[in-house]
Symmetry: C2
Subunit: 225 residues, 2 copies
């Protein structure tokens, strides 16, 4: 369902060019469970942003369900992002002036759900990540790992079929990390497609396939057995 | 050099009271190397903020080098924070409009160093964390792990004698994490006092003493052998 064809992403900083991605090709099929690994700065978040329709490549093509994403207008892209793709950001990206419940409710508002549904689904999502007693806390009234879990709840609340998780357990202790990974494992068993960026082998071993990035290129792409 | 005596920290959210710390007592000696562990929300960052003079307790006393910190005026506290304590924040807290070099230079400016010294020390600090080729990038032009390393470089640039690191490797791959831990190990051998909050046993094993927090209380405090 996802085809990256020779994707490059080049940034210009001052007079220097940074090749964040230098020609990446990758096929992701329905119900795949991928782990993306690679050292700091190797291009993982850049690749996730392109797959999640949050950024466009400098060159190459991205086909999503056979449609060339670069050919889609903003409204169509926006609708895909909100309904089909759940994105857990590496740096959470929560709205500072809203509490946990309000933050998790945002995708439901965009999906046009009514107030009762919004309240029910957002509350459920927060309880699922163990934050039932923190729903009225704003981000600065939450611990690092609690903010991460609000970001996770928000990404899953619309039941998206493609889940992109950029280091979803970086701020979590091992017990909480296992709970989150069990959540993702269950979503995979339910037929969804999961892509997790991680630095930790313990997290990567949940996936069925491991893709390694190095200096903006794919170094290896193997099944996990 | 650090005595926490029955420290409590209570937050009020709406009508609820949250006991982030519920009576914590801890002695830290010169040249100690502590790891602080505990599940998400157990009070680790709250404790670090109090030790780092960034926050004050609701009750209890904090003696730093035998002085009651609550008795010190703002200028004195500020001077201790800037010169004696290096703080690596869990969420980095970089200035978005300044590049990596400028961010790392901030403590040197406050320490009254001249321009040539500032440039030299800030550049050295960034090279030490492997970011010699990213010095002119702003935070939004850096990967998650690169931002974390800028925060680390900034904390160490004034050669503080007390280093408080709140999850310094949460966004780093294993190779880069090891480089950072070697840095901290060397600083410890040089006579400094190191306190690291971490969720990972691989990181905690570098420390000589492990303190475990649970629900705002110290659950255990043991030597690491
Ligand atoms: N400003 C605040 N207002 C209300 N509650 C707060 C505030 N800051 C922290 N808390 C609560 O205090 C508790 C401890 O927070 P703290 O940030 O110290 O946890 P932590 O051990 O660092 O967790 P993590 O491993 O997730 O970073 C959490 O339950 C959090 O919700
Ligand atoms: N807006 C930008 N402008 C310039 N360079 C950028 C920009 N965004 C990212 N980069 C650079 O592109 C490279 C890849 O960044 P990316 O965020 O994809 O890395 P990553 O693999 O996610 O790293 P980490 O594990 O540290 O999160 C890095 O070297 C980074 O400095
Ligand atoms: Mg990243
Ligand atoms: Mg914390």
């Amino acid at each position: 369902i996802i085809e990256l064809i020779n994707i490059s992403k080049i940034y210009k900083v001052g007079t220097q060019f940074v090749h964040a991605l230098a020609g990446v090709s990758l096929d992701i099929y329905k119900n795949d469970y991928l782990a993306i690994m690679g050292s700091s700065g190797s291009g993982k978040s850049t690749m996730m942003n392109i797959v999640g329709c949050l950024d466009s490549p400098s060159s190459g093509s991205y086909l999503l369900n056979t449609y060339d994403v670069s050919g889609l207008d903003d409204d169509k892209l926006s609708s895909i992002r909100n309904k089909e793709i759940g994105f857990i950001f590496q740096t959470f990206n929560l709205l500072p002036r809203y509490n946990a419940l309000e933050n998790v409710a945002v995708p439901l508002i965009y999906a046009g759900k009514n107030k009762i549904e919004i309240n029910l689904l957002a509350t459920e999502a927060l309880m699922q990540v163990g934050l039932g007693d923190r729903m009225d806390h704003k981000p600065n009234e939450l611990s690092g790992g609690q903010r991460q879990r609000v970001a996770i709840a928000r990404a899953l609340v619309n039941s998206p079929s493609l889940i992109l998780a950029d280091e979803p357990t970086g701020n979590l202790d091992s017990k909480t990390s296992e709970e989150i990974m069990r959540l993702l494992d269950d979503l995979h068993k339910a037929g969804n497609t999961i892509v997790v960026v991680t630095h930790e082998n313990d997290i990567a071993k949940h996936a069925h396939r491991i893709v390694k990035l190095k200096d903006g290129l794919i170094e290896s792409d193997r099944n996990n057995n």
